[in-house]
Symmetry: C2
Subunit: 288 residues, 2 copies
């Protein structure tokens, strides 16, 4: 964990959003939250120095890689300095004194509502009400609403707004995880085992990717993610996202140098401690 | 286009959803629409023979591959028989007689609302109202609402519910495309140039993917998509999605046979006419 008292961390969404929970995991309880309304504002908060870090969701186990954030990251001068993977646990939340049996309307973002179809099927007396935001629906519940109204959001949102957690894990599929990246204006320093994320471009011709991967295969560098993506307005080229185990300054250096010769627009997005759950504190000593 | 008078095509969503527009492109105006509330119901409609085809969104240029639908497709016995790529054009829609200047509230799914931030920033007098569904918000608008109420949805939704298209293309980013796959219980027959989608599993060891890709690179088979995905509950294995140019019965046969020997759980999801905009009618003669 990157401990820094008062480190300003920008997220997309309201306090209590799942991004807020991920920021607490990576930066700790002392962070100063900078909520932003959308991903563009999130990146702006970092470039305009209204925040010291930006926390960006980059992929989800149900819905895939978030290309628009890869695009923003690629176009930005920022560095990935840590990652975490958060299980998206949807919670049924009421006002203090509310009971599950008394609920008639439950509000949340339609994506969250759609993840809880089993719950609504089992409780036909409860109407699902679309809202702009998961955490925001808890905030609204506490500002108005009565014992018949509820919301679906993170446990953190319930705590933060003084609401009542009526039932945890009301989602249909427990295998719903979001991977978040922590961005900074300066690169991080990784002392232990590192993971590195890169983006590069290749021409779309048979064998081009195979040739590019040789740089890693011939040196035993392990890849943990690969994904192709057609490039906007360049119909015969593809961008590739690659995560590899290793540090460009050390064991992955030669392979990356070779790839740089055979690909285009290679950008190292950042190197950060390997392992989704590992505590990256030791690599951040200089900053905290 | 797969012309079949009265061919029953299941979609997820309401009539007028973007899936409905994609179904019209692939199957034609004579289709009989089978709307379903969620993706599980969509696949069930095909297996229980309440529909002859199911139309599944599989990836979006902003939000990535829809893993949950890859999972359903992989677990199903169905075959991809056609694909199309639809530009998601968000339209501002009002009741007949409404004007843009008179609008004060515009409803849609929050994801669609978020794609139109520029529009709402330019019209601060208009409140964005979250709704469960894009097309459903037009239906509701026509069932109630007045000249100060609007919705954001497809042009098709405006036509279908007799509403007024006030402004087309109110989305911020015109590069928003969704790729849809058309599924059937029986494989399609492709007479011209084919594209084939496969899914397979590899152990996560350095060089495993490189070795697997050799099957294609050594034979000059062109890949148009590759994506890795960690497997649930199998931490050292990855699933790969691959789209290639070629037909398993013809030019891609040898490469697939080799891959079948070196990978696990290889499943050919289907072969279908190459080219996102090409008319697949000629390959469907037997069915129409």
């Amino acid at each position: 964990m990157e401990r820094g008292a008062g480190l300003r961390v920008a997220i997309q969404g309201e306090p209590g959003a799942f991004s807020h929970a991920a920021a607490l995991v990576l930066v700790g309880e002392t962070l100063e939250l900078v909520p932003t309304p959308d991903f563009e504002a999130l990146f702006l908060a970092l470039s305009r120095e209204r925040a010291d870090r930006a926390l960006v969701p980059i992929e989800n186990t149900l819905t895939g890689s978030i290309h628009e954030n890869y695009d923003r990251l690629r176009a930005s001068p920022f560095h990935v300095i840590a990652e975490t993977r958060l299980r998206i646990r949807q919670c049924l939340i009421g006002r203090p004194g509310a009971t599950l049996g008394g609920l008639r309307r439950v509000a949340s973002h339609p994506v969250a509502l759609a993840q809880c179809r089993g719950f609504f099927a089992a409780h036909p007396e409860i109407q699902a009400v679309p809202a702009a935001d998961t955490a925001g629906s808890v905030k609204e519940l506490m500002n108005g609403g009565d014992a018949s109204s509820g919301a679906i959001a993170s446990e953190l949102a319930a705590e933060l707004y003084g609401a009542l957690l009526l039932q945890a894990d009301v989602e249909d599929d427990p295998e719903n995880h979001t991977r978040f990246l922590l961005l900074a204006r300066e690169p991080g320093r990784v002392e232990g085992s590192a993971k590195t994320s890169i983006v590069f471009t290749l021409e779309n011709r048979p064998g081009a990717l195979y040739a590019a991967l040789q740089a890693f295969a011939s040196r035993g560098v392990d890849l943990t993610k690969i994904e192709s993506r057609p490039l906007r307005g360049r119909p015969f080229e593809y961008a590739f996202y690659l995560d590899l185990v290793g540090d460009p300054e050390r064991e992955a250096g030669e392979a990356l140098a070779e790839l740089r010769r055979t690909s285009r627009d290679l950008r190292v997005l950042g190197s950060y401690p390997e392992g989704l759950k590992r505590d990256p504190a030791r690599s951040m000593k200089g900053e905290a």
